[in-house]
């Protein structure tokens, strides 16, 4: 049972982006989502460090140390790009002006709690902008492996790790399945399985309660 690749997960997440959306993509697999935005759909990407309208990675010739994304990667600007301060950038996030954020996760609970910033006992790097994003963005989509390296479910009854936010996740895309809920008061529902993956496979690898 292989499920989706990282690229396929990113492509699946990209289908959630709608024409005219302003979206923020987290570090890792979420960054790949930019490569799969469908033609004819105009999605404007936001970066916490003060940029709206992110272009692709630069060529060697285009590299500019003053144009980076929140993952500190060199990127390029577009004709409609704008730059602004960090306070203004998070005003967009906290104020609910960003339509969707796609983020990685260590654990998500059946109530939509997200943990993705610290593991007790390990050196903690800090939350960065993750707590702000989950508190402010209209729709939070999580991209994560269905289980951890030891095979433990990451979609759980209750998270074991410290929270990034409580009741903040709207959709979960794993390498095996997609879960979604209609609102922050609704329960998650299994809406899609990867090719060759059955609902029973998912049930066996998921701790959270969800609607089938």
């Amino acid at each position: 049972m292989t499920g989706w690749t990282r690229e396929q997960m990113a492509a699946r997440a990209a289908r959630e982006l709608k024409d005219g959306y302003y979206a923020n993509l987290g570090i890792g697999i979420p960054t790949l989502v930019a490569n799969y935005i469908p033609d004819g759909i105009e999605v404007t990407l936001h970066s916490e460090n003060g940029m709206l309208g992110l272009g692709p990675f630069p060529t060697e010739q285009q590299i500019d140390a003053d144009i980076i994304n929140a993952g500190k990667q060199t990127i390029t600007e577009l004709p409609h790009t704008s730059y602004f301060s960090s306070a203004d950038s998070f005003a967009m996030i906290r104020g609910g002006h960003i339509d969707a954020s796609i983020l990685g996760a260590m654990e998500v609970s059946q109530d939509g709690d997200l943990s993705n910033w610290m593991v007790p006992g390990k050196m903690v790097k800090g939350p960065g902008g993750a707590m702000d994003l989950v508190a402010g963005v209209k729709r939070i989509i999580v991209l994560m492996d269905h289980t951890d390296k030891a095979g433990n479910p990451k979609f759980r009854r209750e998270n074991t790790l410290p929270y990034t936010g409580r009741n903040v996740v709207d959709m979960i895309i794993t390498n095996l399945a997609v879960f979604e809920r209609e609102s922050r008061t609704a329960r998650f529902r299994l809406i899609e399985c990867a090719p060759g993956v059955s609902a029973e496979d998912i049930a066996a690898r998921t701790e959270a309660a969800y609607l089938a």
Partner: protein, 233 residues
């Protein structure tokens, strides 16, 4: 006429530094950091610094240089990865660290600079970072009280400036710089280029926030993640 342009970092920082002071710095990662002024602080040797900065630099660049030199005893930051010496000092209990969500940190700088003593945000509610802080309901939602931050000194990196102290920043090198500039009781800017005139509609940081300036003589602008497009150039 008050002269805001100083010959070098040592001159610009003269009289402003003391052990145990609080310094707020602009920059995100290694982008838009006041490299020349950090060298000046290194040369001055000021110790016991509380540094308010989104990141802590890397081992041999940015605030990492001050950490390595044991000048910083406390940091207020949102993310401190990418720095082994930081990690060593922190785990050894030699360095105090206050984590702050990135947007809350930016807003705390802005609030401090704007005379806002505190503000209520949803960010962090229900997490470790809201523990011990005051909560309040607005329209049925819970918010946490965060306080404004000011500092004895703000150091920022600007792109262009006129002699009056009006600043423009360049692209994502803007980041925390305008917010830090408002939060310093004294603000020193290092500037890549002095110009005769900035268009009044283009100014990012009005001159009122800037007390001293120098020409930035160190503009290495190190890149952390050199990502290149796969397409042929």
């Amino acid at each position: 006429m008050v002269q805001k342009i100083f010959p070098d970092a040592a001159a610009a920082l003269d009289g402003l530094l003391f052990d145990g002071m609080t310094i707020v710095a602009g920059g995100f990662g290694l982008c838009g950091i006041p490299e020349t002024l950090i060298d000046g602080l290194l040369a001055a040797g000021t110790t016991g610094i509380t540094a308010i900065s989104n990141n802590a630099g890397v081992d041999d660049f940015g605030l990492g240089l001050l950490l390595r030199n044991r000048q910083i005893v406390r940091m207020i930051s949102s993310y401190v990865g990418e720095n082994k010496e930081f990690e060593r000092q922190y785990l050894a209990g030699e360095l105090e660290l206050e984590f702050c969500p990135q947007g809350t940190l930016a807003e705390r700088m802005r609030a401090g600079g704007a005379g806002i003593a505190g503000f209520y945000t949803r960010t962090g509610v229900g997490t470790l970072l809201a523990e011990g802080k005051e909560l309040k309901e607005f329209d049925g939602e819970t918010y946490v009280l965060e306080t404004g931050l000011t500092a004895d000194l703000a150091i920022v990196k600007a792109w262009r400036a006129d002699r009056f102290g009006n600043l423009m920043f360049r692209k994502t090198a803007r980041n925390f710089n305008p917010n830090a500039a408002t939060a310093g009781r004294v603000t020193v800017a290092e500037v890549e280029e002095f110009v005769d005139h900035l268009k009044p509609d283009h100014v990012h940081t009005p001159a009122i926030f800037v007390q001293r300036m120098i020409l930035a003589t160190r503009n290495e602008k190190r890149i952390e993640q050199r990502t290149i497009t796969r397409d042929a150039a």
